[in-house]
Structure formats: C-alpha cells, structure tokens
C-alpha cells in the first residue's frame, strides 16, 4: 500500500507542479530535491508494516514493576533469536496492562498483583515472586516497623516520626497511583480495607517513588524489592527483612506474584517467549536482578 501512496504523491506532485517551469525559479533546486528524496528514502522502510512471517512482533504492556525485568528478558531473548522477534515493552501499570491484553493492544499483559474477579477469563502465568519493600531515606534510623504502624502511617493516623522514635518531623508518605499493581498488593497486604490517606504523595512508577525517598529524609514509601538500590534503605516489617530467602518461604509477608497474562491460549511466538521466561535461563536472569524464581 505504501508504494501506491508514494506513487500517487509523485504523480500528483508532477501534475500540479510542472517542475520544468519551476526549476529555473527555485534557486537551490537540486538541494531541495535531494533533501526530499533523502527523507523519502529514510521513510521508505517505515511504511511497510512488519506483518510478514519473517519478523514477529510482540507487545508486552503493564506493570511498571515488571517492566524493567520484562525489558531485560526481551533484550536477551531478541539477541538469542538473532532479532527475528521484535518485542516492545510498555509500562502503564498492572491494570493498564491487563486492559491492553483484553483489548488486544498487547499480546502479553504484565501484572504485579493477582487478577480480579472480572479479569478471571484471562490466562495467567506466574513468572516470579517479588517482595514489596518499605523504603526510607538512608539517614532515617528506623529499622523495623509493624504492619499496624505501616497502616497507621499510610492512613494518616501517625503523622510524625517521633511516634517511631525519631525526630519530631512530619512523615511524608508516598504511594503509587490507583491502577498500580504494587499499590493494590500493598493495600491488600498491609492496609486491609483502610484507605490510604489523600494526603499521600502520588507517583506513577517504582523508580519515581524511589527517587523521592532518596532525596527526602522524611519520606517513606513502598516499591518492588527488585528495584531497591543503594540510595534508599529497606525497613524490616514485623522484624523480617526482605531478601530472596524470606520472600521465597513467605516469612516476609509482603510478597506478590508477577504475572504474564494472555487472552486465551497464547499464539506460538508468544508461548515461546513465555517458555523462555520460565526456563532455567530466564529464571536465572530474573533471580540475578533481585526477583524470586518460581521453582
């Protein structure tokens, strides 16, 4: 189709412009035509959609928690398959990913929370387990909190660090946006029906939450354990520190599954990628990045 469009444009151009008369009038004719064809040439490959059987295209959309890991897996998978598969990884949040899957905008939806009742008709595969880490600024001396304290902080009941044994400074708590799987898991595991106060600062990805905590000594937030880095400190919950072991045997209670969600049985190329993720190699990559494998 692209060829016809271009042919049409060229003939229309010639019909309407009659270059033989235009040529003497435009001074830098050769360069402007040169630029025109150069851009055309650049554009040429872009007009042909990759629907041919030679190169497969896969869109994975959803959880921002899963996103960095999905991207890593995609990168390696594409290398292994010498780029015969193109995998596009998008964020948007768990709910967005599940919706994208339902609306066929993505072949795989990723989620960092369990599926809800009205999403039950989707096919789901657990690819890893992740902990929700409670993080604070490195200068914050608080090392441990109970679930109840967490709940009170995020519902606004406890508003000052002195209640936890630190300086009398206000607590700035950061939460994820409503469609986030991480938030959903947090609400499910910690808040238990008590709503998060609307004074909470809201950010829309793990990375941005982490950034705020890293730069604000009085801040506290929750992110995926796999995304924790040296700039923030992890607080133990109910005296259990999250690490690969405690997440695996569930002594650290704030754990949730990472899901790959598909609409019905996945097509062959999709299934092959899922198999790769579940394979020893795929799981090895995930564990290296801080997740807990499914085996």
């Amino acid at each position: 189709m692209g060829v016809f469009v271009k042919g049409f444009i060229i003939t229309a151009w010639y019909e309407l412009m009659d270059p033989s008369e235009v040529r003497p009038l435009l001074k830098k004719k050769t360069t402007s035509w040169g630029i025109f064809w150069f851009i055309f040439g650049l554009f040429l490959p872009g007009c042909f959609p990759q629907n041919s059987s030679q190169v497969q295209s896969l869109t994975i959309a959803g959880s921002t928690s899963v996103q960095p890991f999905a991207e890593k897996l995609a990168e390696i998978y594409m290398e292994i398959n010498s780029n015969k598969v193109i995998i596009n990884v998008q964020g948007g949040g768990s709910t967005a990913g599940i919706k994208a899957c339902q609306e066929k905008a993505a072949q795989i939806g990723t989620s960092s929370r369990e599926l809800k009742v009205d999403e039950g008709n989707l096919n789901k595969v657990i690819i890893a387990w992740d902990g929700i880490a409670i993080i604070v600024h490195p200068a914050n001396p608080v090392r441990n909190m109970t679930s109840r304290q967490l709940r009170d902080i995020f519902s606004g009941k406890i508003a000052n660090w002195k209640a936890l044994g630190w300086l009398p400074k206000p607590i700035y708590f950061v939460t994820r946006e409503e469609g986030s799987g991480t938030r959903d898991a947090f609400e499910h595991l910690v808040m238990k029906k008590i709503p998060i106060s609307d004074e909470a600062l809201v950010q829309d990805s793990n990375g941005s939450v982490r950034e705020i905590i890293a730069s604000n000594p009085q801040a506290i937030g929750y992110i995926s354990y796999g995304v924790v880095n040296r700039q923030v400190k992890v607080v133990a919950v109910n005296s259990v520190q999250p690490n690969l072991k405690t997440i695996k045997d569930n002594t650290y209670t704030l754990t949730r599954p990472f899901l790959f969600v598909t609409l019905g049985q996945p097509a062959l190329p999709v299934q092959k990628f899922i198999d790769f993720v579940l394979s020893k190699e795929g799981q090895g990559i995930l564990e290296q990045e801080g997740l807990v494998g499914v085996h």
């Binding site: 949040g93 919706k99 809201v202």
Partner: protein, 278 residues
C-alpha cells in the same frame, strides 16, 4: 476546469482545521458526558471525593488545585514579565532589544520536561529545606509554571507596547512627563488590551501544562491549604490515571478533560476577542 477541481480540493483541506476541531470536541464530549449525567453536574464539579474505584467522581479538589497553581503562577510571573516587557520596549537601546527579545522567545522553546526536571533537582530541595513541607508543592509548581509562561507574556506585551501609537508617548513627554511617567500613566493603559491578552494566553498555557507539573506537584489528592502542600491538578490526574482506567473511571477522566477544555477554550476565545477589539 482544473482550476475548479483544485479550488474544491483546497476548500476541503481548509475545512479540515475546523473539521478536526469539531471532531475532537464531539469526541471528548461524547466520551465524557455519560459520567457527568450519571453523577450529576453539581456533584461532579463540587464534590471533593475522587475515588474512582468506589464510584466517587468529584473533581473539586483538582479544579481548586489547577486554579490555585495557575493564579499563583500569574501572580509570580506577571510582574516579572511586565517588567521585562517595559524595560525591553522602552528603556533599552534598539540594538539590545534585537538580541534580547529573540533570546526570550528562544527560551520559550525549552521543553516542559526539562523545566520539570530542573524543578525537581533544584527547586524542590530548596523549598523543602528552607520553607518546609515535602518540597513537592503548590509553590514549586507555580514557580516552574511562572518561568515557563514568562516568555509568552513578555513577548506579547512587548508587541502590545510597541503597537501603541508614538503620538501617545510624545504627547505625554511634550507635557513634561518623565519617560517613566509616560510609560506608566499613558503607554501601559493604552496597551492594556494587549497586555491582558498576553496574561490570558499565559494562563491558558499554565492551566494546560502537564509534564512539568506532574514532576513537581506531589500529586496528593487533598485540597491544598498552604503553598507548601502537594497538589493534584486536572492535567496530572488525567495523565496519571488514563493508562489504566476503564469504564466509568475512564469516562470520568474524559469528563475532567471536558472541564479543562471548556476552561482553556474560554480563555482563548476571550484573548482573541480582546485582541480583535483593538
């Protein structure tokens, strides 16, 4: 014959602009109206309960936040812009003006995300450490927005001031006024409609800004009670929740979009009428 065809083609193209506008308007209204009808217009606009998962769709706190941020940005930005405009138009050697005015206009091209980024890195810690609060705040958003709309307001104001007939200024000077008095008592009032237009356009830009605001506003749902409180504007809400919303929630976001749209459209029409009245 060919001429006729060409004329028809061009006419169709010309109506594309208004056609698109119609399309967008109809589309947004169609997507957003259902929830307004469901929840009731007054509830939608005046309730401060925004909890989409529970069926609450009140956007009052967001309207207030958007307005607060914009008004603050105007309060901070207009004096500076006007000062620049007056200086450049009146108290500045011609040569300097030729360099400085384009410089200011060039700076209007800096992407909003860059402003937001600098806000997060430089401004937010300053506010947090010296003024209190989490830093991500109404104040931070207003300051960033003020800086962003500065070039717009300045540039249009300069044009407005320069458009005032020379007679006015010369008349004032001839009557013994100092340059400053001429500017303050004669030129500015004469350029009033142009300056007001500039301010209105600045407002429209500020209220529609999304990226920079998301980065520095904190996005807390509560209605702000102080400059240092975090805020959530209409634009931030739409941007944050659009990706995953569904059903009534998505419709509600479109409805918020309608409110935004009407407001900005109103401002733009106002500005254009004023500009024409001159």
């Amino acid at each position: 014959m060919r001429e006729k065809i060409i004329e028809k083609i061009l006419m169709i193209l010309a109506f594309s602009a208004i056609g698109l506008l119609l399309l967008i308007t109809i589309f947004i209204f169609r997507e957003g109206l259902p929830v307004i009808l469901k929840v009731g217009l007054s509830d939608f606009l005046f309730s401060d309960q925004w909890a989409p998962t529970n069926g609450h769709f009140g956007i009052l706190s967001m309207i207030i936040s958007s307005l607060a941020v914009t008004v603050m940005a105007i309060i901070l930005g207009v004096p500076l812009s006007l000062a620049c405009a007056i200086t450049l138009a009146e108290f500045c050697p011609r040569r300097w003006l030729l360099i400085l005015k384009p410089t200011i206009e060039l700076l209007a091209g800096i992407p909003s995300v860059v402003f937001g980024f600098l806000g997060v890195i430089l401004l937010v810690p300053l506010i947090r450490d010296y003024l209190g609060g989490p830093g991500l705040s109404l104040l931070a958003s207003s300051i960033i927005l003020a800086i962003m709309i500065l070039p717009t307001i300045t540039s249009i104001s300069i044009d407005a001031l320069q458009a005032v007939p020379l007679l006015y200024k010369e008349g004032a000077l001839a009557m013994g006024a100092t340059h400053w008095q001429a500017v303050w008592y004669v030129l500015l009032p004469a350029a009033r409609s142009g300056v007001v237009t500039a301010i209105i356009l600045g407002m429209a830009r500020a209220i529609g800004e999304t990226m920079a605001v998301i980065m520095v506003a904190g996005n807390a749902l509560k209605i702000p009670t102080s400059l240092l409180d975090p805020v959530r504007t209409l634009t931030s809400t739409i941007a944050l929740e659009m990706g995953y919303s569904s059903g009534d929630h998505r419709t509600a976001l479109f409805a918020a979009g309608i409110v935004l749209f009407i407001f900005i459209m109103g401002l733009n029409i106002l500005a254009n009428t004023l500009m024409r009245k001159k």
